[in-house]
């Protein structure tokens, strides 16, 4: 029987299988969000671990697959302990060593070495952030369960971070040309580490079909960026928005400047079509389990653009008060676009081993909930 009393739907005939999002619940989510923000401010942000957990539990519980909701099984305590580990084992020692080295080099007048240390520090922090990205992915997957069966990420965070670092260097040296390759490589790496209930995910994602779209979007983005920059300069000097220009003595041009800054991200708008193609290709490249279940993520550039612009407007015009709506919109987008094209044998969904790793969330997660 299904949880709403209806007979359990046979999985086979009603293909494709789609994720559904239970509507509503914004009030509860908003209360959880505001409570988290207020208590985080009052507790020097220490409350954030419990607040984020509370929010995630609400969000996860509204996503339904085959009549049963997903469950977030992480806890605030785990995140708190992970935070303490990272603080004492990584952040404090690394910062003290770097500060000490810099002080020693300054005192010895070895200023060239100081710059080298600065470079090594920047590279080291990039590597740590990539490690954190992988660990975060691993933690969230392992704390996500459906019908009690959890996902799992195997693979090595340091190996992932090392490759990400090399690829970032490659992207920098090639002036961005390597970006689609790096993007596809890292996504493929993560997908190939993922399994759900014993069903291993296999991805053969290639960047070959992404390059045309990437170059076109880059070109359009540059043109749009130039137009925005030009309009911004003209507006700042003529006061097209505020009505006052820099040539009017004693007037401020703040509104024009701020408007320019807020509109700057729109130069990246053409990349919505690149990302849409990337997500579609990533989903198409995936086969799950022995039965080679294939999935689709039918997102379009317009959908992604509407999603990003809508989130931008919600955050900017509500001064952050409607931030929780952006999480709901993300989940809705995923539910609307994601499809499983072949039947799943629920008997084959076997439990994954519990992964006790609990670090990574605090090294660059910020308020990224979903």
């Amino acid at each position: 029987m299904g949880p709403w009393g209806q007979p359990e739907r046979p999985i086979g005939p009603d293909l494709p299988i789609q994720l559904t999002h239970i509507p509503g619940g914004f009030g509860q989510l908003w209360v959880a969000y505001v409570t988290t923000v207020v208590l985080s401010l009052l507790t020097l942000t220490v409350y954030r671990f419990w607040g984020m957990t509370r929010i995630r539990r609400q969000l996860w519980s509204r996503v339904v697959l085959l009549d049963d909701p997903f469950e977030y099984t992480g806890s605030g305590w785990e995140l708190f302990i992970g935070f303490l580990k990272v603080m004492f084992y990584i952040v404090l020692p690394v910062t003290l060593i770097i500060a000490g080295l810099n002080f020693a080099l300054q005192s010895m007048g070895l200023f060239t070495l100081e710059q080298i240390i600065g470079f090594i520090t920047a590279v080291g922090f990039y590597w740590i952030v990539e490690v954190a990205i992988f660990l975060r992915f691993r933690y969230r997957a392992n704390r996500t369960s459906w019908r009690g069966i959890r996902a799992r990420v195997n693979g090595n965070a340091t190996d992932f971070a090392g490759r990400a670092l090399l690829l970032a260097a490659g992207v920098a040296f090639t002036g961005g040309i390597l970006y689609p390759y790096a993007h596809a490589f890292l996504m493929r790496y993560k997908l190939n580490c993922l399994s759900f209930g014993g069903l291993k995910v296999r991805s053969s994602l290639s960047s070959r079909n992404l390059y045309g779209r990437f170059f076109l979007c880059s070109l359009l983005s540059m043109v749009l960026g130039f137009i925005l920059l030009f309009s911004f300069v003209i507006s700042t000097f003529t006061g097209a928005i505020s009505g006052t220009s820099v040539f009017t003595p004693g007037t401020a041009v703040g509104i024009d400047f701020i408007t320019g800054l807020l509109l700057a991200p729109f130069a990246l708008a053409p990349f919505a079509w690149y990302w849409a193609k990337f997500y579609r290709a990533a989903a198409q490249s995936v086969l799950i389990g022995e039965d080679q279940i294939d999935v689709a993520y039918d997102v379009t550039g317009w959908q992604l653009l509407r999603y990003a612009a809508g989130n931008w407007a919600l955050i900017v015009f509500s001064l952050g008060l409607l931030w929780p709506l952006t999480w709901i919109r993300k989940i809705e987008l995923i539910c609307n676009c994601f499809r499983i094209n072949r039947e799943i044998s629920v008997e084959a969904l076997l439990q994954e081993a519990y992964d006790p790793t609990n670090v990574g969330e605090e090294l660059g997660g910020g308020f990224e909930i979903v």
Partner: protein, 384 residues
């Protein structure tokens, strides 16, 4: 035969004696009343549930041994949708899940084990959570206000003088030189003479490197390694040589107390602590660092003021100059002044009116710091 709810810690349930069985509470035969996931596969099992005094039993309608679950080892999953249903899980990492659909079953559970629906562990967990948060805050405060200053003092004391001098010289080179350094000979000589005179009265037996920079602000800085920097605008706005002398004596006070080197370490350590606590990404770091830095350099400022007034008294220089400086600094709009008095705890310096009062009350000298010629030369120190 019974089997545990898939977790090892549920195994003890099978040892429960039959006298705990409460047959009145059993709900049988309703295959849509509840369903169960055993935690091994994603198969959904229709079940019946019978409630006993200390545990409940899950009987799978599609076969298999019954599962016994003590209430004490069961947790409610919250939130769970639809909200009218109740989902339970063991209190470990097992994936076993029981979902009660039928309201009568939920009522029976409430009668037998209300603590499962409103679990005391959640209340305990909240207490534990707030204890941890409070403990963390106390620890952080102790680190910021006790450990960091103490460690900075020790580091500041241990650093060799040559290292401090190199760091000071480097800071001047990196920050103040690009804005332009003033080197007019007569002004530099007058300034150096004044600094040396005050250094001996303060009790600093070191060769002070004094710099005047065209950095666009009214300020003075004491750097590690006996480097002192005055800004051109500070000298321009000063109304007397006694005023400049008061500021120099104040900076010498910082140097005598080793504040510049301590501040160097304090900033580094605080930055590490703040980065670690605030985790990045939320944008609180800079505000927090500012507040923390503010609130505990006030003691340093007061100590440097004490030394400065004594030094001016020993040199016979009037404290009227430094009092005038504080007075001018205090001349803010009335509303802002009131706010500054209210926010004194937040400021790096004690209130300017208070400092002016102390300077006037404790000052005994009557002379200017420089001759009229010396003062004229100092005011032209940046002239090309």
């Amino acid at each position: 035969m019974t089997r545990p709810m898939s977790a090892r810690n549920l195994a003890e349930a099978s040892k429960l004696s039959s006298d705990q069985f409460d047959d009145q509470s059993s709900a049988r035969g309703a295959s849509d009343a509840a369903y169960f996931f055993d935690g091994h596969t994603a198969l959904k099992h229709p079940v019946t549930v019978t409630f006993h005094t200390a545990h409940f039993t899950i009987t799978l309608l599609d076969g298999g041994a019954p599962v016994e679950c003590p209430y004490t080892l069961s947790r409610r999953i919250q939130p769970f949708l639809p909200a009218e249903h109740v989902a339970l899980r063991p209190n470990n990492h097992s994936g076993a899940r029981l979902v009660l659909v039928e309201p009568t079953l939920i009522d029976r559970l409430r009668r037998h084990a209300p603590e499962v629906l409103d679990p005391p562990f959640l209340r305990r967990s909240r207490l534990r959570r707030w204890a941890a948060i409070t403990g963390t805050l106390v620890a952080v405060m102790a680190v910021i206000f006790v450990l960091v200053p103490a460690v900075s003092s020790v580091f500041g004391f241990l650093v060799p003088d040559t290292t401090k001098r190199a760091v000071g010289a480097r800071t001047v080179q990196q920050i103040f030189e690009p804005a332009g350094l003033c080197i007019a000979e007569a002004g530099t000589q007058a300034l150096k003479g004044l600094v040396d005179q005050l250094a001996s009265t303060v009790g600093v037996d070191e060769d002070i490197a004094i710099h005047v920079t065209q950095f666009p602000m009214v300020n003075a800085f004491a750097l590690p390694g006996w480097h002192m920097v005055l800004t051109e605008k500070l000298i321009e706005t000063a109304e007397s040589s006694a005023e400049v002398a008061g500021i120099i004596a104040h900076e010498l006070g910082h140097m005598k107390l080793n504040h510049p080197t301590e501040a160097y370490f304090r900033r580094g350590l605080l930055s590490a602590v703040v980065d670690a606590i605030f985790g990045g990404g939320l944008g609180f770091e800079s505000v927090a660092a500012l507040v923390i830095t503010f609130s505990y350099s006030r003691d340093d400022e007061a100590a440097a003021d004490d030394i400065a007034i004594n030094a001016l008294n020993d040199a016979g220089i009037t404290t009227q100059g430094i009092a005038d400086f504080f007075n001018r600094e205090a001349k803010l709009p009335e509303g802002l002044q009131k706010m500054m008095v209210n926010l004194e705890w937040l400021s790096t310096h004690p209130s300017n009116q208070g400092r002016r009062q102390i300077a006037l009350e404790q000052g005994t000298g009557r002379n200017q710091a420089l001759s009229p010629e010396g003062w004229r030369a100092l005011r032209k120190v940046c002239a090309k």
